[in-house]
Amino acid sequence: MQIPYTVEARPDTGLPNPKLGIWLFLASEVMLFGALFSSYILLRVSAPAWPHGYQELNVPLATLNTVVLIASSVTMVMSWAQLKMHNLARARMYLWLTVTLALVFLVVKFFEYGSHFAAGEYPEHSTFLAIYFTLTGLHGLHVLGGVIVNSYLAGPGAAMWRTEPEQYTNRVEVAGLYWHFVDLVWIFLFPALYLL
């Protein structure tokens, strides 16, 4: 038994199943982060005093991380483009590059967290720090998820290229959509937490 439209697009919807699936998943992710952002706004506007992000947090490091994540989104697209040009070796290289950049992001984040903990700044310290750790922590988990998925696709998952090149290309595209979303969440987090 085979499920129709796992690879090719259904003519009247113009989408293969996984692509529709990932868009729906991202819609639910928008609601998840949307709820957290709304909570952040609500807590901030009702607080008598709220620190500015740039006073409490390390803006240069976060700027570096922003650049790193945007670069990783570019390499992700490059990987997909290389697959479209039937060049698996370069596509895998770009995937590994994406994974590396994601790990750089996490390492930087690790040092950022470390310096807060060293200064005795824990989530329980203030609602600002609480929402900071919650939002960036949840985003960090999403980055970690991306690292796992992309490593799989660049490593053992790439064996699929030999038998099902089109399906493999679709998988990289779907993983890419997720990765761009993770990037986009950071683009919102950065100004909301660090700059305002």
Partner: protein, 592 residues
Amino acid sequence: MDNVASVGKAHAVEAHAHHHEEELSFLRKYVFSVDHKWIGIQYGITSLLFLLFGFSLMMIMRWQLAFPGRPIPLIGPYLGEANAPGGIMLPEFYNQLGAMHGTIMVFMGVVPLAVGAFGNFVVPLQIGAPDMAFPKLNMLSYWAYFVGGVVMLSSFFVPGGAANSGWTSYAPLSVLATQGQTWWLVGMIFLITSSLLGALNFIVTIIQLRAPGLTWMRLPFFVWAQLVTAFLLLLAFPPLEAAGVLQLMDRLAHTSFFLPSGLVVGNKPLEISGGGSPLLWQHLFWFLAHPEVYVLILPAMGIVAEIIANNTRKPLWGYKAMVYSVIFLGFMSFAVWAHHMFFTGMGTVISAFFQTTTMIISIPSVIILSALFLSLYGASIRFTTPMLFALAFLPMFGIGGLTGLPLGLASSDIPLHDTYYVIGHFHYVVAPGTLMALFGGIYFWFPKATGRTMNDLLGKIHFWGSFVCINGVFMPMFIQGLAGVNRRLYDGGMQYAHAKDVLHWNTFMSYSAWGLAFFQIFFIINFFWSMKAGRKVSDNVWSATTLEWAAAPSPPPHGNFLTPPAVFRGPYEYSVPGHEADYLPQNQPTKA
């Protein structure tokens, strides 16, 4: 036309591949199955067990309400000294039972049965698909649900017992509650993940895997109901997940998302940073939990629509109006949540907004219910067991819906808020409403799943007994509620003068609840007995038009259809003039 032709080709290719299949091991076939039908049955059996368990918790509570302070017979000695010393229930234990009854019934009973079981089993069959779009993901959603359920049940055995802050887990009470609350949150995260994955799968399946010719306005109403339900689950559950994460942070990392400044507990100020908002929890919670109400009711409406069309032998009255109503209902359900919060001091302007949207959302519900009632007009009704349940759903849901109107208006909500009236209202929607429909659905689709029908006599005893008893449980709640009896009192309100005149109803309600349990025995016997020894029936036992009956064998094999079906007509072409049979299946070609 081009589209339809190429869709047909893809289906033909898939049917060809269908013949090469290896035998699956027991584990792959019955435990970690990826077949939507078996997953549906797994969901069904698990959720029925949870329903029974949640109902049992309530039966213990009803003893306490009817005979406060008297030792619980039979099981009293086994409840443990920490919960019921000498068999007499402690208030703390009553709170645990109340919170867990709500949680289990809603998140582990009714939703998995209505969506997980019926959706999984029926939707792919009704749209002519070989399976769900993502079968492995489907298996994963079942097992996430299972783990969530196990976590919830285990929480009864941690120090301090299970969660005891109500099924709504209002902060700050829940943040300060015993360890069971943490388990509740972890369990909820598993259940939410399960629902999200399932919802995503349903939407992709319905949009992508419809058989050739099955256009949107030819979809059975049940599929429409499931589609809207899936969107509600997909978009409403993440905010609760966010809220759950924040509450976990409050409990484990000692943050103050939901804890305001200056909180004093037991005459001691709490050592917290403060600055949080208890109201935030309520907003996040009800942003999920109001759409959740429609998750509970829409699949039931879908089931009832199928059964009514089939047993009146007529097309549904106003099918299109019903479809547009259900879509509108889905959208509106995201804009009514704060009518649960009129009492929180969020202000009259916001209350006015939410009472207006609440009145608006009642319109599509009334349209659907009216269409179902009007579908009966002029019909020669077959009073089969599933039809009895479907017919009972109509007035029961009607009572549930209409008693909700005074609660939706801010001013009349004031005397009714947090009384038994509220309990009566939503139980009429979910218990005599949804559950009746779900039982009807089980009797209706049982022959499809097993190839045998359930016993009619036992079914009718089950129906009439349940129908009488369930009204005996919930109708007096309106009386108590109008008298002002609060819903959360563990002795039923003995200490309140205004409750004196209506408290005698408690014994009546409790006996009705136990009677209700007695009549479920007929169902349980019928279910298992019919599986083994029920009358064998043809593939289309009800002479129905939709694909699961008209095109698939009973029980359907792996891959569902022997030849991929194509659809040529609407879902309910019953009693079409000029035809010999009184039904035209959807897959019957039009003669040129």
